[in-house]
């Protein structure tokens, strides 16, 4: 008995030892970067190492609100972040509608084709999206070529260098890339709808739109709710790549979201400490947001989302 207990314990430990190397990797690449936040409390100027940099406490956090120029700049960045995340939030129902109407198509081959083609852009990188955008919309691009041939314009329209409607065009590229893919979850939800519901609706003489409104839509709302909550939780995380590749001297003011601003400050301007300070605030607010929506979900639906 004694020996069996001992061996059980040792098996348990040995199994842990198998995964230990992976947990160390995770520690290094997911948790250790949090240590990078200490740079926010030092006056770090490369190449002088952190150990020799002076400790400045909350200086950089204060500096964010001290100087009017900086305040204005940060406000513009926050405005961009809110504008672009807000637009995405406003149209967050699009994939759901996409799925509803896609499943209304009865020609299987056509539907399959549409689904394959509209999902494809999700699998190319932002650099490639930018390259496609450049080929289509640059001054020598295909769209300008077409417009010129049709005699609609004399001089090329500078779509990509324009500082107008940047939020909208960024939202459109985002939608182009991800709409078809995002719809898949909803298509799965539609697939899960019980046949008897359709039959009941039919018996009651429901029209096509009535079936959509009273049968299909309600059964997708749980999925929509969860995705909406997750989207709110990542409100500040627009990501860097899309805005980085589309950024240029003309649209810079309207395209800089927090992630890009932080990058530009550090890698462009060398202000690592300020950049880390903003990063840190952003991450903390994001975690608070996540807990909030999780709490909200528990309150409204009785289950957590994470």
């Amino acid at each position: 008995m004694q020996t069996r207990l001992y061996s059980k314990k040792s098996i348990s430990i040995r199994k842990f030892l198998y995964i230990l190397p992976f947990m160390i990797l995770l520690g290094v690449f997911a948790y250790y970067p949090l240590y990078g936040w200490v740079y926010a409390f030092f006056d770090y100027m490369p190449p002088i190492p952190l150990s020799e940099s002076p400790f400045v406490g909350f200086k950089w956090f204060h500096s964010l609100v001290e100087n009017q120029v900086k305040v204005d700049q940060l406000l513009q960045v926050i405005k961009n972040t809110f504008g672009m995340s807000g637009l995405a939030l406003l149209f967050s129902w699009l994939p759901m509608i996409f799925a509803i109407f896609l499943t209304e198509i009865k020609a299987v081959r056509f539907r399959k084709f549409i689904q394959t083609v509209t999902t494809l852009p999700n699998f190319i990188s932002w650099v490639l999206v930018y390259s496609l955008a450049f080929s289509m919309f640059s001054s020598e691009g295909i769209v300008n070529g077409m417009l010129k041939q049709l005699g609609l314009t004399d001089s090329p329209i500078l779509f990509l260098q324009s500082s107008d409607h940047v939020w909208l065009t960024m939202w459109m590229w985002m939608t182009w890339k991800s709409l078809g893919w995002s719809a898949i979850l909803y298509i799965a939800a539609i697939m899960g709808i019980d046949d008897s519901l359709y039959e009941a609706a039919h018996v009651d003489g429901a029209t096509r739109m009535q079936v959509i409104r009273h049968v299909v839509l309600p059964s997708m709302l749980p999925t929509y709710f969860v995705l909406l909550m997750l989207q709110i939780a990542s409100f500040l995380n627009n990501g860097l790549e899309q805005y980085f590749v589309f950024q240029n001297a003309f649209n810079k003011e309207n395209i800089q979201v927090l992630d890009l601003y932080v990058y530009n400050l550090a890698m462009g301007g060398g202000s690592y400490s300020v950049s880390v300070a903003i990063s840190m605030l952003k991450s903390l607010i994001s975690v608070v947001l996540l807990f909030s929506v999780n709490g909200l979900s528990k309150l409204l639906r009785g289950e957590s989302i994470v």
């Binding site: 289509m136 799965a188 932080v262």
Partner: protein
């Protein structure tokens, strides 16, 4: 679980209802059908046309494509561009880097996801619940790119190939996929094997790994696409041009294609065959040809593996 995207969407109910109601189909319904077909066709066209137009431009006369004249069909077809781009120094090397990180990175990620997904189902493992949470929770926070950059630099992972493949080894989302899959297999399999005296590792390699093949294929496809498309890590961590990936080099080319086209043309000036305007490299031809080379693997792989992508997101949705 359905096997392909096609089987996902509307099933019988819609058909049945319509057959029975055939005589009742209203004008509004007909209008809606036409509207749905038109809108989806348009969106599909918007999704596919950019790829199509670039492909036809790369095989058309370069002087015409530079003016934006090639719109619907290729004009004066030639394949000189695809021979010429490989004269750009660094492109071949970047292709090797991208291929290398995709093969090595994917192998490591798939192996680790399989092993960890399996291990997290082992209820007698010490601290199983804690370590599982320790892993999954990393999906919901990150330190930010600059703190990440600074710590990676302190670990000497700048200008280092390892920076491409090490951070992606432990991937929580993939681990969840595998774990869900393992949990759906009959428990008796594992029990029978352990009674026969198989240890944890034997169990994993002999029993679970072969069973998990379908889900591992899904993970492999996702991981490979992620690796191939990765751009941000090169941007932040790499300054050594020998380690540039194709994505990064494409980004550079979009911004400097004019000097590259001049260079290729100078190289070609030596050989007498190259004189025609149609095959002379332009900013546009270089940029578009490199774009197609970078996107080609995705375009080739995507139609074949689409069902794996769909499967992946569905399993993830159930559990994640």
């Amino acid at each position: 679980m359905s096997d392909s995207a096609a089987e996902l969407a509307p099933r019988e109910p819609a058909h049945r209802v319509d057959k029975k109601m055939k005589f009742q189909v209203s004008a509004a319904d007909k209008f809606m059908t036409v509207l749905i077909y038109t809108l989806f066709s348009l969106f599909a066209l918007v999704c596919i046309y950019p790829f199509y137009s670039i492909i036809i431009n790369t095989i058309s006369a370069n002087d015409l494509s530079a003016k934006g004249d090639v719109v619907f069909l290729p004009k004066h077809i030639h394949f000189q561009n695809y021979l010429d781009v490989f004269k750009i120094p660094g492109l071949g090397n970047a292709a090797l880097v991208s291929l290398g990180r995709t093969v090595i990175g994917t192998t490591l990620t798939v192996g680790a996801s399989a092993f960890l997904g399996f291990m997290f189902t082992q209820e007698d493992m010490w601290g199983r619940r804690f370590w599982y949470r320790f892993t999954v929770i990393t999906m919901f926070f990150n330190a930010g790119i600059i703190p990440w950059y600074l710590t990676m630099r302190s670990l000497h992972l700048t200008n280092n190939f390892l920076a491409y493949v090490l951070p992606t080894i432990v991937a929580p989302f993939f681990i969840i996929l595998v774990k869900t899959f393992v949990e759906s297999t009959p428990k008796e399999l594992q029990q029978a094997a352990s009674i026969d005296g198989a240890g944890t590792l034997t169990l994993f390699f002999r029993i679970m790994l072969p069973i998990c093949k379908p889900i591992l294929a899904t993970v492999a496809i996702f991981a490979a696409v992620d690796q191939w498309n990765s751009f941000q890590d090169t941007l932040l961590l790499v300054t050594d041009s020998k380690l540039y990936s194709l994505q990064f080099i494409l980004y550079n080319y979009i911004n400097q294609a004019s000097s590259l086209s001049t260079m290729v043309n100078l190289q070609n000036a030596g050989s007498t065959a190259m004189a025609s305007l149609a095959t002379k490299q332009t900013t546009t031809s270089i940029r578009m040809t490199v774009t197609i080379i970078v996107v080609a693997p995705i375009l080739l792989v995507y139609p074949i593996f689409q069902r794996f992508f769909v499967k992946g997101i569905m399993i993830g949705a159930v559990k994640g």
